[in-house]
């Protein structure tokens, strides 16, 4: 579904702040694969997702989505096929617009936006049902401004929006990192449900090893702009935290003290 061939990206080339964020990275995602991405700060996880989303052009390599070369496509054009949830809960929704207006905007992802009325009666009932499914009591707040919702609620809504028009690819960029543990668990569970119900292909970045192991069908670990570990199938199911740390040491060539080091390694 998604294929990256020898993709590289360097930030601030030729300056003292030069940073090789992606180095000759290749990755292939089969349809329906749910890949968790783990790695320390500066490992290139977010850069990988932004390269796929088209936030900026890559320096080299090719990006294919469903067989189509999207390397030269601008962000809004790729968005036709890609749903995204950001780390910052404020980023995925329009705060001064109503809840139903936000959902309606998402429903038209990739469609021509013409002079038809934005929120139709039929849609409204669909939204109510979808929101009721979230179990957050949002079904009665369709006309509330999204800015009035909590971070967790907004992130759940963003997830719903990203999947509302079934995307070929779902990108989750540490979308639970800014939430409290209980809310984060809820949003993660919701992510699982949405991905499996719609058979979505997804890439999810996380800082949390346990989450990376527990969720998804495949796990990749990144370091210095490369994929240094790629585990799927049965091996992924049996993976433990201890084993992950050991294999990181083997591949990266240096020892990790603990989960904590991976979190803060720079």
């Amino acid at each position: 579904m998604l294929e990256l061939r020898h993709v590289s990206k360097t930030f601030n080339p030729g300056t003292i702040n030069e940073k090789k964020a992606l180095t000759d990275l290749s990755l292939h995602l089969a349809p329906g694969e749910f890949v968790t991405v783990i790695g320390g700060n500066g490992a290139g996880k977010s850069t990988l997702l932004n390269a796929v989303a088209g936030v900026w052009p890559v320096d080299g390599g090719t990006i294919l989505l469903d067989g189509e070369d999207i390397t030269a496509w601008p962000e809004h054009k790729r968005a036709v096929h890609i749903g995204r949830v950001f780390q910052d809960p404020m980023m995925g929704t329009a705060p001064n617009m109503q809840l139903e207006e936000n959902l309606a905007l998402a429903l038209r992802r990739g469609q021509r936006r013409g002079l038809k009325w934005e929120v139709t009666k039929v849609e409204r009932e669909d939204y109510r049902a979808l929101l009721a499914d979230l179990g957050l009591g949002l079904e009665d707040r369709l006309t509330a401004k999204v800015g009035l919702l909590s971070g967790g609620q907004r992130q759940a809504v963003t997830l719903l929006m990203a999947a509302l028009r079934r995307p070929k690819l779902l990108l989750l960029d540490e979308h639970t990192a800014a939430l409290d543990p209980a809310t984060a668990a809820k949003v993660l569970e919701l992510s699982d449900r949405i991905v499996s119900e719609a058979h979505l292909t997804a890439l999810m970045i996380t800082h949390n090893m346990t989450d990376a192991i527990r969720h998804g069908s495949r796990l990749i670990m990144m370091d210095e702009g490369r994929i240094i570990l790629d585990i799927d199938g049965e091996a992924k199911k049996k993976l433990t935290k201890r084993e992950l740390i050991d294999r990181f040491a083997q591949s990266a060539g240096y020892q990790l003290e603990s989960d904590q080091t991976l979190l803060s390694k720079n």
Partner: protein
């Protein structure tokens, strides 16, 4: 001092009020255009000082050429749309910050406007010779027509910004990152919003030229400030009256009302025999005061200063 007060006639003030309302309605119509950029797109667009004059110049020349005032207004609007298009393209295609793009277009429009008016700085429109839509000679009719145009425009804007396209414009102003992620071409939306906004502003310019009976190369000077004043006065008053955020159409209605109130204040100031050359200074002070209201209201609600026991916090 006594002589000063004795010279003020309340009757004269009352006599000037209807004229103030008529002119205020036209400023209110212009403020509707400014609302699109300032509130929906989150851009302070300085093109309007030029495009307001463009509208007035176009309308005046066409009416002088014997065309119908309605056609004149339509052409004025089209010219304003072109002006907004320029600003939009300077901003999105050439990467010039929105404020600077607006200033550049406005600056260039000065020459363009002179060309439109045949290199004259002033073009008179005599209401006895031409079938003007609104005129200061017939104030009640001007108020009626001005209000009707404002109502139609509010209805049109309410409809348009409720459509898929209008919502995409609003989303672009509210959260550009999200809009891109939802497949909205935000550059196109900005250009579209700027064009529509300046179209409305130029329409108001065309009305103003007819109302005052002339188009003048400087008639748009300070239009952005007056427009902002109208938007903010409308918001502050609607919030003071209703204590909550309102339906979009009502908000737009209050914007027009803001324009009327602004101009009534001007009428009072002139009646007080303050030097009319100080009017711009006075307007700037008023706008600064109103612009600061949301800031101070916020501060009052989220202040670190301890509230005295029993003191109730501001309206939430």
């Amino acid at each position: 001092m006594q002589a000063y007060f004795a010279s003020l006639s309340l009757l004269k003030l009352l006599k000037n009020m209807p004229g103030g309302i008529a002119q205020g309605l036209i400023w209110g119509v212009m403020a509707l255009g400014i609302y699109i950029t300032f509130r929906l797109l989150d851009v302070a667009d300085l093109t309007v000082d030029g495009s307001f004059t463009t509208g007035g110049a176009c309308a005046a020349m066409l009416i002088l050429a014997g065309k119908s005032p309605w056609l004149a207004l339509a052409v004025a609007m089209a010219a304003g749309i072109l002006a907004g298009l320029c600003t939009g393209l300077l901003h999105t295609k050439l990467g010039i910050p929105a404020i600077l793009a607006g200033i550049l277009t406005q600056f260039a429009l000065y020459s363009v406007n002179l060309h439109i008016m045949g290199m004259a700085a002033n073009k008179a429109l005599n209401v006895d010779k031409y079938p003007l839509l609104v005129s200061s000679r017939y104030v009640p009719a001007a108020i009626g027509k001005g209000a009707a145009i404002a109502v139609v425009l509010v209805a049109l804007m309410y409809w348009y910004f409720g459509t898929e396209q209008g919502s995409a414009i609003r989303a672009t102003g509210d959260n550009p990152a999200m809009s891109r992620a939802l497949g909205i071409n935000i550059d196109n939306m900005k250009v579209l919003g700027l064009a529509l906004s300046n179209g409305v502003v130029a329409l108001a310019g065309g009305l103003m030229a007819q109302y005052q009976g002339f188009a003048d190369i400087n008639m748009g000077r300070g239009a952005i400030v007056i427009g902002l004043a109208a938007v903010i006065i409308g918001e502050v008053i609607s919030r003071a009256v209703f204590k909550k955020y309102l339906n979009f159409a009502v908000t737009l209605g209050f914007t027009v009302l803001g324009g009327v109130l602004y101009y009534l204040v001007v009428v009072v100031v002139l009646w007080l025999k303050l030097n009319s050359n100080d009017l711009k200074l006075f307007t700037a002070v008023i706008v600064a005061l109103f612009l600061s209201v949301p800031h101070f209201r916020d501060r009052a609600q989220h202040s670190f200063r301890r509230k005295k026991a029993g003191e109730v916090s501001g309206d939430a």
